[in-house]
Every structure is written in structure tokens, then in C-alpha cells.
Assembly symmetry: D2
Homo-oligomer: 352 residues x 4
Amino acid sequence: MIQQFKPITGALFSVSVNLILQTEDTMADRKQVIIDTDCGIDDAQAVMMALAAPNIDVLALTCVFGNAAVDHVCQNVLMVLDVCQRQGIPVFRGSSGPLVGAINPVSDHFGTDGLGDVIKDKDPRWEEKIQSEHAVNAMIRLVNENQKQISLVALGPLTNLALAVRLDPSFPQKLKDLFIMGGNMEGKGNLTLCAEFNFAMDPESAYIVLEEFLCTTYIASWEYACRNSLTWEFFEELINQDAPAAAFMKTITSKCRAYSKDAMKNKRDVYFGPGYVSYDAYAMAACIDPDVVLQSIECPVRVELQGALCRGMMALDRTNQLKKSHSVTVLTKCDVRKFSRLLLQSLRQPKK
Amino acid sequence: MIQQFKPITGALFSVSVNLILQTEDTMADRKQVIIDTDCGIDDAQAVMMALAAPNIDVLALTCVFGNAAVDHVCQNVLMVLDVCQRQGIPVFRGSSGPLVGAINPVSDHFGTDGLGDVIKDKDPRWEEKIQSEHAVNAMIRLVNENQKQISLVALGPLTNLALAVRLDPSFPQKLKDLFIMGGNMEGKGNLTLCAEFNFAMDPESAYIVLEEFLCTTYIASWEYACRNSLTWEFFEELINQDAPAAAFMKTITSKCRAYSKDAMKNKRDVYFGPGYVSYDAYAMAACIDPDVVLQSIECPVRVELQGALCRGMMALDRTNQLKKSHSVTVLTKCDVRKFSRLLLQSLRQPKK
Amino acid sequence: MIQQFKPITGALFSVSVNLILQTEDTMADRKQVIIDTDCGIDDAQAVMMALAAPNIDVLALTCVFGNAAVDHVCQNVLMVLDVCQRQGIPVFRGSSGPLVGAINPVSDHFGTDGLGDVIKDKDPRWEEKIQSEHAVNAMIRLVNENQKQISLVALGPLTNLALAVRLDPSFPQKLKDLFIMGGNMEGKGNLTLCAEFNFAMDPESAYIVLEEFLCTTYIASWEYACRNSLTWEFFEELINQDAPAAAFMKTITSKCRAYSKDAMKNKRDVYFGPGYVSYDAYAMAACIDPDVVLQSIECPVRVELQGALCRGMMALDRTNQLKKSHSVTVLTKCDVRKFSRLLLQSLRQPKK
Amino acid sequence: MIQQFKPITGALFSVSVNLILQTEDTMADRKQVIIDTDCGIDDAQAVMMALAAPNIDVLALTCVFGNAAVDHVCQNVLMVLDVCQRQGIPVFRGSSGPLVGAINPVSDHFGTDGLGDVIKDKDPRWEEKIQSEHAVNAMIRLVNENQKQISLVALGPLTNLALAVRLDPSFPQKLKDLFIMGGNMEGKGNLTLCAEFNFAMDPESAYIVLEEFLCTTYIASWEYACRNSLTWEFFEELINQDAPAAAFMKTITSKCRAYSKDAMKNKRDVYFGPGYVSYDAYAMAACIDPDVVLQSIECPVRVELQGALCRGMMALDRTNQLKKSHSVTVLTKCDVRKFSRLLLQSLRQPKK
């Protein structure tokens, strides 16, 4: 295992070089980021990746239902900020359910609380730490104050984003760019037969975002994550690092069914073989370092809104049959070495 | 004219009594109202009815796309307030399109500007008179400041209301009551084959409001309006009254196809016979004076979201097949004499 | 009650006159009929009405699933023919389920066997009495042998008819005319919230028939039947006549929930008030005697195929919004006296 | 021929061995086949492959609309039989359109007549050569006469098969097995964005067949064909063989846009790169020689019936989320050498 990862974490010299270059890059390419999240375990990982990245300023964390109820999501985000000692970043509560239709709670993926149901001593006064402004209004305000400066990274159902464009139709064009974890590109679903979790939880919002957010958009689909999975050996190395963030991740994944390495007949393993897949981190990594993406497809996409099997499925329109004027970047191949390095760094927090 | 209305306004004595009672009623039954409107000609009529009613305090007018683009709607509302010399009432701009899907502009009903395309000297500085707060946020703020006090009268597509419950899930329960012009009860549509204009323009929002607004709700459907139509003779009397409001109404209906009395093969005439139908005024009248409603059905309702013919259609569930816990009041029979009187009063503005 | 019906069954003299006239009519207006039926109790009534009518030659009875499984339907038809001593009419087995999708058996309406679950001594050798030719092929053959001569009366789901036009696209134009019991005209349903039983049981077939059967078509909708209901007193008179057919009807309605006069909160009573409604008989009566229909609407119609509430609903397109070239006759007002007389006659079989 | 095959089958010796084995196989594994076809160019190729196969007895060819109107399809099938001098095989006309909804003619794929619009001297008396029995009835009869003996190879929309199970619910269980060219497995469509031509032309029939044909079923999807394409060099070799069948194929592909090797931005090339793909031949080859299939997936499948993008799409249910009891064999990897050999043999007809 150690040998395996030598090339990634590298010798001291190469790391130094890398850090120097990264610092220079950071100057030129500093990014202001809002993270919209339904903070489950893999969101926590992705948020930590952003917090650890020297070139990223996290302006706000906006919460949305998804992996858990929005109140759990708020608490989870506060916990992650605590672990990383970054309590100064404001957290906003957003949508508690999908744009249309009833909430369909999902509790077996990352547990009821979204973080594996293992944390006992939760902060009873967490609500005081949540901003009073609604997440959607906060998004709109921040993006208006920092036009063309903000990268929005969306890790959950896209409800908050859909509401933002409804309240401010010019919201998308005032973004710098948008990174989405969600959707699919081969008709394979993980929640329903053909739809990915984040899109299936609110198909209308996914549809709206992909039709109306005409900004530069990157999509890390379910299949992208699965086809660029890491090994379970790497996962062990990752969570066994000596730092509070790694310890936190080890705790919350300790009883989580989704992080069981046993041969479950889950869809991911059936379709793509075994492996460790930290979904949201793929979108976050693309935002932090564009070089993490080795290949992608530029094309229009659309979300199917109807159907017993395909509601919420994303389709790529590579021959422009739909006559859409806007294309997005659908990620296909990841530099797993760079990605692994970002993961490893993310759990070495807080910086001493 | 006088003869014609004798039976309605009655002998001198009874009128006096009536006025006295009304004044007393007003004290006891004063209502705070927010009017959400896609201000076309019949909305203008309904707004004037509210402005003329002694027991109604209009707290705000919130605008929504529908009969015209939302910017036209804003201008139309300002014009109505000007005519009635009630410029102090704040006007808020709201949604410019439906919750899901593209705007499908309708321009032949009340003209492109929603008021018959006859007004030439429009205020070039109208935008300065619109509040900067978004209509949805204004609604939420006002309802939170006056909990259980506000009657919301919705005269257009229900997009603003749907967004309000998304941003504040407790919004509906903080309303006093809700009056909606929209939907249908016999499967007869006016925009599409089976759906009424306001619901067909945004079926998802209509669905959300009827599922999630668990407050006391009154629905004046298309068939209710059509089955309680007035005569074209009454219309002539109405608009020929000697007052600025009547003159304004006479102007905006002068070239409007919807107010042509010629035998057009429109659906209304085919289904219900000829007559003058001021749709939105039926919902407003029910808010101003409950006695205008002679009969109604209490039952759950639901909006169909799919289908080539029925998308946007409202269905009454009189045997509770859907197992919904919430019923609404679907109006069926109107006291047309009382209703006529409210109409006549509404165009005698401003009060001298 | 007797007084009430005196004018219908009349004095001896008027009956004689009537019979004489009817005999003359019969010569001029003799009709060849195929009855397609899902033989439940009201189908049995309608079939007996055809058998009793002096101007009707029943060429064949074709069976379809609906009120009961198709095998029950076949047995029921054979029983009705037995009761009326008309065993010579060939009976064909047809579709056992809808055109698309799974069979959704309905057993509480007329019982599991479709005839009230009261008949014990069923014929164990009934299958031998069913023709070996499939109902759909028999229909096609008979209509080709008697082009423009046959009236098709459809009393169940329209599956057999849809299959007939698929196997022989010219089938509809070779019919004389088509009478359908099914669909609705006010958006009120009896099986689902907005759809009538026969159409809801196979919406695709109803759609196909109403789009592709361009022959003269009469539709007796659910609301037509309900709005022209008879009294429960008449029902008592009807089944208490002294004849085998009346006795049979009395037996099969004896325990049937659908013929309970108790105030059930069924949709029919909620919408239309109490009354005896023999649905299928309304379509049959229109075929036997056009004068039974007092009013009708000529317009195109279409069946909604999608939706949670409206799938299977029929919509009238009275302003030709759908640009269809073909109109049907939607019955609206029935001569209940003539209709009552046909019912009474139908249960006085077999003729002595 | 020997030279020609050197690169594919290798040295002379191995060819001989192979031929001997094949002859022996033929004895043991003789197959009775009905081919249901919408005979376009690739169907013609597949039919010829069956006619050339020594182990295949073609009992009947049943025609269905698809690549062309069903009358063109009938003529095309007769032409293919003529070219191969196999006029004794009966040809039946079947469905002229989809099970539900209007025919949506497609004429630019293989031309209006389905065979490239290049054949001028068509047989004016072709209709006399078509059997009078309907294709669906013929299928049912033949399968009843040869229970568990017949392989059904379906190369077009599945309308005839769906009608067969409607008229005879036990039809599927009396088949030996079923080979289908159609559907997809990666959400990539060729007719619509996400649906393959044969399934998209009649989604309801595809749905019915995949739900109700519980016999052994093999599916050669669009992606299977595309991922196992041959080179355009092979295509040249194929059609330039010295035999009437090859000459016929050369003629009908001479002006066909679908056989242009120019870099068109068609979906196939965009998704899978350039290559010659004779779709229907992949299903036929799997029937003729099971060894042509190197890999496949056993799982339940279902067709999506709704949606703007996905109607007609086939989805694989590899984790049995739909709880279906029946699995099919979805082909994934083809032995292209064996497949090429079958293609080459198919155009060396008639045998001298």
C-alpha cells in the first residue's frame, strides 16, 4: 500500500516543489467559493477539501435537504467547521424539500443524521450559529456583491439554486462558474433505476439549473465518480492520518453502510466494480484544481422530468438534437493521483 | 339604468339601512389584504373593487407574470393606483415566469400590455415607484409582521405563493385566509382544453399551493365565474358611470377582444352562453363580503401535473379518494346582485 | 308508483298502437348488432334490452375483461342467453386485459363474477359453448361480411375494438355506426378521480377508438347516465315483473353493493343525488331507438393518456382546439319515459 | 473466397475443420425461424444471413412498418427472397403503425422505400404474392403448430409481437426463444435522444414484449451493434463479392446516406467512432450461432413509456430494483470474426 501511494504523496523534494508552485498558482488563481451542500459524509469530505485548499476562500456554506433533513445538514456543516477550526464561515439554512412534490426522506445511505448516526454529543445551541438570512437570499446577496467572482459548488439537490434564479433571474450570469456533483451520463442511476441521487431528489430543480444557469458549468456525474474510484486501501490510509479531520472522518464512516467494503450487491459495485468513491469531492476537486480533470465532453444536457424509470435522469445531447444554445462540461476522466493528494491534504486539518 | 337597478339597490330606506350596517360591519370585520396580481383588465377591476371597499386595507400589491410580462403588470398596477389616487400602497415586482419550464407568453387576451394596448402616455419612470424588495420576500415579511391577520387574494398564476412557501414553510399557516381566482371544477378549460388560464400558466405552483397552503382557502374557479356572469347591458352601465375609474375601465376595454360582445366562438360562450365575466372580481368580492357567496362545496382538491389535455386542471375530490386531510371551499353560486353592487362601487373612484 | 308509470306502460289500447307502430318501424329500420361486453349486471340488462327489441338482430356477443375476468364474462353472457332462450347467438372470447399494462382486477363493484356472486349452479361445460374464433377476428370477419350494415355496441373496456382496428385498419369505416358506454364529459370519474370505469380500465384503447373509429359514433358517458337516472321505485317495479328475465335480474342484484339503495357515500350519489342507473342500457337504448336521445353535443373528443388524476378522462373539444376532423355525438339528455319502457320490456323475456 | 478469408479465418486447414464442424452442428441444432421485419437495408442483410445459414429453416417472414411503410416492407422482403431464389417462403403483411398513437414516418434513414430508393423495376403484382392471412394470426398459428420449436427473430418495431400476445396470451411460452434487435443499454438513442429506433417507433409494444414474453430472450441493443462495428474496408469487401446477393446489397447501399462513410456528425460516429454497423444482423447472428456472442448480461429490463427524452428507452435492472421475476440476455460482446464470416456467407447467394 505504501509503495502504491509513494508516487502520490511523493518524496519530500517533489512535495516541496509542488507546494511552491501551488502557492504561486494561488496568487494568480485565488477563488471565492460558496458551497451548497446536503452535508452527508462525502459532502463533509468535500467541504474539508475546500477548507484545506490554499487557493480557496469559502464565503458561505448554504444548506439544503438531501442526505438528511436540512436541520441535520446545518448541524453537520457546523461540526465540520468546528473540526477544521473555521467557525468564522457563515452557514445558512436553505430548502427543506424539493421544488415540487413531497419530501421523500432517505435515511439508510449515510444514516438518519447524514453523518453515520455515530456522533452523540451534538451542540444543543446549534441554531444560534445559523445565520437568520435564508440561504437563497444569502446566495443572491453574495453573488450581487461579488459579481463574476464566485464559484458555486453544488453538492446536493439543486433546490436552492433553482429558487435563486427564480428570485433573481440574472443570478446565473453573475456567477464566475458552477460545479455540480450530480446527474449521470450512461443512464445508470443510484437512487432510482436511471437517476442519480441529487437529481432524483429534485428533478425539477436539476432541470431548471441545467436549462437556465448559462454560466460556465462543470458536472461531476455519478458515473464520473464511479469510473474514477480509488481503492479501499487508499481509504484506509486516508482516514488513518494523524489529524482531527481524519479522525472525524474515521468516526463518521465507522458504521456507515455506504462505506462498508463488504461485497454488497449495490449498484456501484455491480456496474463499476469495488472501490472507494467520495462523490462530492470530485466536483470540489475540479473547482480547486482544473488539472484534476483530464478529459471531458462539451455538450448540452437536459434532465428528464417524467417517467417511472427515468425521471431525474440527465441526458447528454452530443449531436445537439435539442437545439440548445448552451453547453456544459461533463467530466469524464480524472487525474486520480492529483485527486488523491487533495483528499489526503483535506484530512490533515486543522493546520498546526 | 335607474330602473334596472332598483331591485338591486332597493328602496331608499333599505339602502340606508344597508349602508349603516355595512359601516358597522366594517368596524368589526376590517380586513388587511395583500393582492397578488398579473394585472390584466379584470385584475384592474378586482383591484379597484378592493380599493373601493370600506372594510379593506390593501397592504401591498405583489406582481406576477400572466396576462402580461411582469414589467407590464407592475406598470398596470401603478396606473390603477394612480387612477384611484392611492399611490401610497407599495407595489412589489415578483416572478417573471412559471416555477418550472419556460414562459409561454400570451398576448392576445388583454393585448400585449395586459390592459388592451390602448394606453399611450405611460410613465417612463415607473421603475422608481416599484419597491426594491422582491414580492416574495415582501409577502413573507408582511405576513410575519401581521400573523393570522392577512387575507391573501391571488388573481394570477400562483408562482409567488409557491415561492413563498418554499422560502418560509410556515408562510401558509400565518395567513388569515386565501382567495384564489383560478382552476376549474367541470374539466372545462379556457387556455388549454381542460385547464384554466392561471393554473395552466404555472401548474406546479397551483399544485403546490393547493397541497401546502393548509389555511382557509376559497377558490373562484373559471366555471364559477362563467356560471355567474352578468349581462352586457350591465357592463355598459358599469363602465359608463361618471368617475375616473369607470372612464379608465371604459378606455382599456374599448379595443379588447375579450370584451367584444360579438358572438365569438370562444369557449366561454360555447359552454355557458353569452355574458360579461370579470373573473378576478369574483375572488375579490368573496374576500370583501362573504355574503356574496351563496353556495359552495367543501372538499379536497388537486391539480393534475401531467398530460396533453389535462395538465393544470383542478379536480374536486368530493369522496376523498385521495385521502387528503385538507379541504378548500370551492365557490359555486354567487349573489349576483351583491356582486353587481360591488362592481358598480368599484368604478366610482376616487371618492370625492 | 303505479300512477307514475301509467303513462309509460300505458293502457292496453296505447300499448297495442305502440306495438303496431313498432312493428312497422322494425321493417324499415332493422338493425344488425354486435355487442361487445364485459358482462356485469348492467351489461346483462343492456344485452337483454337488445334481445327484447323487435328491430334488433344480435349477430354476435364478443367478450372482454372489465367488470370481471373474461372467463366470467363469457359465462355471464351464456347465462343471459339461456335466460332469454336465445342460445343460438354465438359468443366469442376476447381480450383478457388492457392493451398496455397489467390487468388491475376490480371485484367489489358487481362481485368477483360480475353478476353479484349469487349464482351457484354454473355450467361446468361452458367453454364448449364459446366459439373457438377469437372475438377480434370474429368482429373483423362479420363486419367484412356485412359492410356498412353492423351497429357495434361497446359496453366494456374498448380493447377488442382497438385490436380490431390494428389488425384491420379499415374496420371502422365498414361499420354502420358505433355506440359506446364510457367516458365522461364533466371531469367526474367513478373509478379514478376523473375517469370513468370502462375508459380507466384501458385508456389506450379508448384513445385509439376515439381517434381512429371515424364512423358515426354515439357516446353515453357516465355523467349522461347519472344525469338521466331513474328512481329506485322504478327499479323495484322493473325487477318484480313476472318473467324469467326479471327474476334473473332480481337475483343478481339481490346482494350487489352497487344496487344497494342505502345512502352510501359513493360518487354517483354525491355528485348527482340518489337514483337507479343502469349504465350500459343507455348506450343500448340509443342504438335500439334514436328517439330515446333528446339532446346531444356534436364535437371532437379525446382521451387523456397521462396523469395521476386524469388518465382515461375523456374531454370534449367544443371549440375544436385540437383540430380534429372527426366529431362524435355525445349524448346529454335522455327521454327517460321511452328509456324506462325499453327497460321494462327487456325483462319480460323470454317471449311466450 | 479462400484468399478473402485468409485474414479472418486464418490458414486453409482451420477453415476446413470449421466447415466440417459447422455441418455437424447443423444436424444437431437445426432451427425453425420466423423473421419479423421492417425490411430496410440492414434487415435485408439479416434476412439473407438467415437464408444462407445451413442450420436455419425460415418458416415465414412477417412484415411490420418501421424503416418504411408496411407495403414497402412487403415488397422489400419479396425482392430479397427473389434475389436469393427462395420465393417459396411465405410472406405476411402485419402492422402498419404503432400500437398506440399515430405513425410517425421516417424516410431519410434508408430512403422512402427502405432500400435506398434506387430500385426502379418493382413488381407491379407484388400484392398477389403476399399471404392473405394477417401476420399476427400467421405467427400465432405457426407457433401453435410448432410449440417450443420456433425461434422468433424481431428486427423492427415490436408491434406484431405485442398484438400476438394480446390475441393469444400463451403465445410467448410456446416460442423456443426470441431474438430482438432494439433498445439500448447506456441511455444513448439514435432516433430520439435516449431511445433506439425500433423501440422509439413503438414504445408500448416494446414495453409489452419485455414484460410479457417470458421466454428465453436475447437483446442486441443499439450500443451492442455500435460497440462491435466492423470497418468500412470490410464493408467494401462484403458488397464486392461476386454473387447476386452482394450485387443487390451494393446497389441498395449505393446512394444511402446511412452507408456513407463520410464523416457525418451522426450519433453513432460521435459516440462510438466510425465504422460499418449492420444492426439487424447482430440479432440474427446470435440466433444462427450462439458462439457469436462472447459476453452478455443476464438481468431484467424495462422500457420507459413516458418523457420527452427517454420515452422508448430500455433500462437494465442489474440489481433487480423493479422486482421483476424474468431476466433477459443483453448481449455485450460479439465475436466479430465469426460475425464477419456470417455476413460474408450471407451475400454469396443464391448457392449455385
